[in-house]
Amino acid sequence: MARAITPRRKALNTAIAWAIGLVIFFPILWVFVLSLKTEGSAILPPLDVLRAPWTFESYGLVQERSNYFRHFSNSVIIAVGSTFLGLLVAVPAAWAMAFVPSKRTKNILLWMLSTKMLPAVGVLYPIYLLFIRMGLLDSRLGLTIVLMLINLPIIVWMLYTYFREIPGEILEAARMDGASLREEVLYVLTPMAIPGMASTVLLNIILAWNEAFWTLNLTAAQAAPLTAFIASYSSPEGLFYAKLSAASVMAIAPILIMGWFSQKQLVRGLTFGAVK
């Protein structure tokens, strides 16, 4: 039973929490504001910025200056591709571990997790070398494969925890009701597993979209996704605040929206089920 609290106390909570929330969110909000200003007004003091006229011109200029949509589509292809490739490999594995557990299941899961802990920089050169030899450097295919591999443990883990939550009695009920193995999978298991798979997909697209080690080191002009493209603003061009802001807003907006939908899954996915 939650206890009733006084309205004054609730108002105080609200005020403090909103203040903190706005401070934390402010940088994102400010970038959004700057993206709607001209280059000249974006560098003015904050109050003058707010008074300056609003405009969408920066969004157009970003595309003109460099092929923004190429990088955007690179991001989409790499993030979505690596996630579905990973799903293809992970679903059978997680399925087997959840429904036919053996003594080794736990060790295999922990070992998979341990590969996630491998510091990327420790294997940077070998991967770089292999990519050169195989002609994968600066290719979307190469990056898709690498991102699939680094996120595979998380995909397997998340699916495993979701699959394990499907109660065994329901599968037994389906068998008692006369369902064959195929029907059991088709009519009972799959519909029950879909929400878990959807959350897994969501979280992994976010992780792949934001990955910024391999994308920076393994791509150049051709296959660079948004992470690498934005990094190119780090040199003098960074002084174009309005354009940088517009490019940033477009880069983070889709993932911010997806992220809000996946708060719960985030906890499960990133703590490997250790916190629920």
């Binding site: 929330g21 970038v31 590969t115 510091p119 920089v121 940077l124 960074g238 809000w260 490997f272």
Partner: protein, 288 residues
């Protein structure tokens, strides 16, 4: 319950994932180990033969090594302290009844979804820039001299950026853990005469301890690998060259692969030490 037949089917289903990860782990790891015992300079003569543990000794004895260890420790430690302390506070606050709880939660969590290069550049240019940055404007407005954050307080600035990115993660996990605390436990403690500080120390903190451990371990693993934030801001200058960044410079910038690989092996060992603790926590949960 499982029959022999389903066991072999299960093994077959796991095979692709296991094979891929095994390859992903073993191939590059073996190569790194191999290079670490070689004098290998791709731009200046290529493979110059075996050198034993030379690279390992040289990596540790180079003048850049200890400062990089120090920078790594300060960065990781600083971010951990900030995110855990503020994370616990925020989690407790967000667990209180209020209006617009969902919206506040969304505001707090948002930075986690901003890609590292964007958040680094956003802070570097729009906030920390000594001429046009938000903070510079504020300082000028109150009559103070603007601060060159990224050169004068470089490591602190990076800690700030990284903490901003990871505070949502800590908050979210600690909030989830807070919500699972049985409110009757707190009421029982209250009936037993425990005031708020005692309830926090004796009930809430112990309840959160597991989640805090998980936050610390997972963040440590990610923080040890922080790269993009340094890459787009200071490029490792002004005392922000962490171990990860040092290895990156050795390998790709100065193309001294042997030396960098030895550093990579150190990084792998370091990460594994943290990982062992994390595995214990996670493994225990698997049994439950």
């Amino acid at each position: 319950m499982a029959t022999q037949h389903s066991r072999s089917a299960a093994r077959l289903m796991m095979a692709p994932a296991v094979t891929l990860l095994l390859g992903w782990m073993l191939v590059p790891l073996t190569m790194t180990l191999y290079f670490s015992f070689k004098q290998y300079l791709p731009m200046r003569g290529g493979d110059l033969g075996w050198v034993g543990f030379d690279n390992y000794v040289r990596f540790v004895s180079s003048s850049a090594f200890w400062p990089s260890v120090q920078a790594t420790l300060v960065l990781v430690g600083g971010v951990l302290v900030i995110t855990v302390v503020l994370g616990v506070a925020l989690a407790l606050l967000l667990d209180q009844p209020m209006w617009g709880q969902g919206v506040v939660r969304v505001l707090v969590i948002a930075p986690f979804f901003v890609m590292p290069t964007v958040s680094a550049l956003l802070w570097k240019n729009m906030f920390l820039d000594p001429v046009n940055g938000f903070f510079a404007h504020i300082l000028k407005a109150v009559g103070l001299a603007p601060i060159e954050f990224l050169s004068q307080y470089s490591l602190v600035s990076i800690i700030l950026i990284v903490s901003w990115q990871w505070l949502p993660f800590a908050t979210l996990i600690l909030l989830t853990a807070t919500q699972s605390l049985d409110s009757e436990q707190l009421e029982a403690a209250e009936m037993d005469g425990a005031r708020w500080p005692s309830r926090f120390i004796f009930i809430i903190l112990p309840h959160l301890s597991r989640a805090i451990t998980v936050v610390i371990l997972i963040q440590t693993i990610f923080l040890l690998g922080i790269f993009a934030e340094i890459f787009v801001t200071t490029q490792g200058s002004f005392g922000t060259r962490t171990l990860t960044y040092l290895i990156f410079q050795r390998v790709l910038e100065s193309q001294n692969v042997g030396l960098g690989s030895a550093g990579g092996v150190y990084a792998i060992i370091l990460a594994n030490i943290v990982a062992i603790f994390l595995m214990r926590v996670v493994g225990k949960n698997l049994d439950a």
